[in-house]
């Protein structure tokens, strides 16, 4: 019995010499893995136009019914996204979302991407509904904000050009 006790204590004393493993969380943040799925971001093209075309496929794919999309028609005077359609309302209920990434898979334009932010705590449920404004990526300069006024006939297709597979 003493032997076992001694062996156990050896482990204990060994550990005493090691540095603590505790991560001092709020001050020190452990980087997340590259494939971690956190808070969503709605991406933009380089010219500032939104990638989201309001197709609702993310909402259809969502197993938790956390996404609500409503779309409207683009005009060249007020262009949000290339093509004819854009999301006039885009809402994600962060408390419903299970961060499965199905929306990311379903998106035909790679507009929605799950980011690295996991610090999502709310003091009421209403705050948990993220609107399009909070989900959209920031733009480097204000003239890239949507809606933009563009030349007619420039952005007529919603889905980026596809290419034939290279043989």
């Amino acid at each position: 019995m003493l032997k076992e006790l001694g062996r156990g204590l050896i482990t204990t004393f060994k550990m005493l010499l090691e540095s603590p493993v505790t991560i001092q969380y709020p001050e020190e943040k452990r980087p997340v893995r590259p494939r971690f799925r956190g808070r969503h971001v709605l991406k933009r093209y380089d010219n500032g136009l939104e990638k989201c075309i309001g197709c609702s496929l993310c909402a259809a794919a969502c197993p938790a019914d956390a996404i609500f999309v409503e779309s409207a028609e683009n005009t060249d005077e007020e262009r949000y996204a290339p093509g004819e359609r854009y999301a006039s309302t885009y809402e994600i209920n962060m408390l419903r979302c299970i961060f499965c990434g199905f929306c990311e898979d379903a998106c035909p334009t790679e507009a929605i991407v799950l980011g690295a932010n996991y610090e999502l705590t709310f003091t009421n449920r209403r705050d948990a509904i993220y609107t399009k404004d909070s989900l959209l990526e920031a733009v480097p300069s204000p003239e890239l904000l949507t809606p933009q006024k563009v030349e007619p006939g420039e952005y007529t297709r919603s889905i980026p050009e596809m290419e034939d597979p290279k043989l």
């Binding site: 603590p20 493993v21 505790t22 991560i23 001092q24 969380y25 709020p26 943040k29 452990r30 197993p63 938790a64 019914d65 209920n93 962060m94 408390l95 419903r96 979302c97 299970i98 961060f99 499965c100 996991y118 610090e119 999502l120 705590t121 709310f122 003091t123 009421n124 449920r125 948990a128």
Partner: protein, 162 residues
Amino acid sequence: MGVEQKLGNMGMVTTTLEQFVNWSRTRAMWPMLFGLACCAIEMMSAQAAHYDMSRFGMELMRASPRQSDLMIVAGRVSRKMGPILRRLYDQMPEPKWVVAMGDCASCGGVFNNYAIHQGVDELVPVDVYVAGCPPRPEALIHGIVTLYEKVNGEKFTDYTDS
């Protein structure tokens, strides 16, 4: 923390009683075990060495509601569990707080069906909701920090009604 002033080198601090009380409450808030599903695993992890919630005064999870101040509801609450949760909450001494950990406890999550309470706020007043399915231990700690901010802002007058 409510350090208003430090008087010379006398080693004294003054503060309001309200702030002092709030400060003391956030320094030893003992959570009650309420692991119901997968979130409980993350809650355990938050309690263990790597995240060590005792850094926030949460020395240990109490199995008894009589000795706890904070209920962390970790997991989906079925209709059958509902009354039990409420009863345990009622058995906790005032002041008491509730954290809804994870999507299911917050609003039902993927389980949008008749068997699951669509959020524990149907049963008890929730102070902080933590999103995630399940939330990382860090997210839970973030929730605890959010709760502390809330507690620090509490006024005595808030209690006058209850």
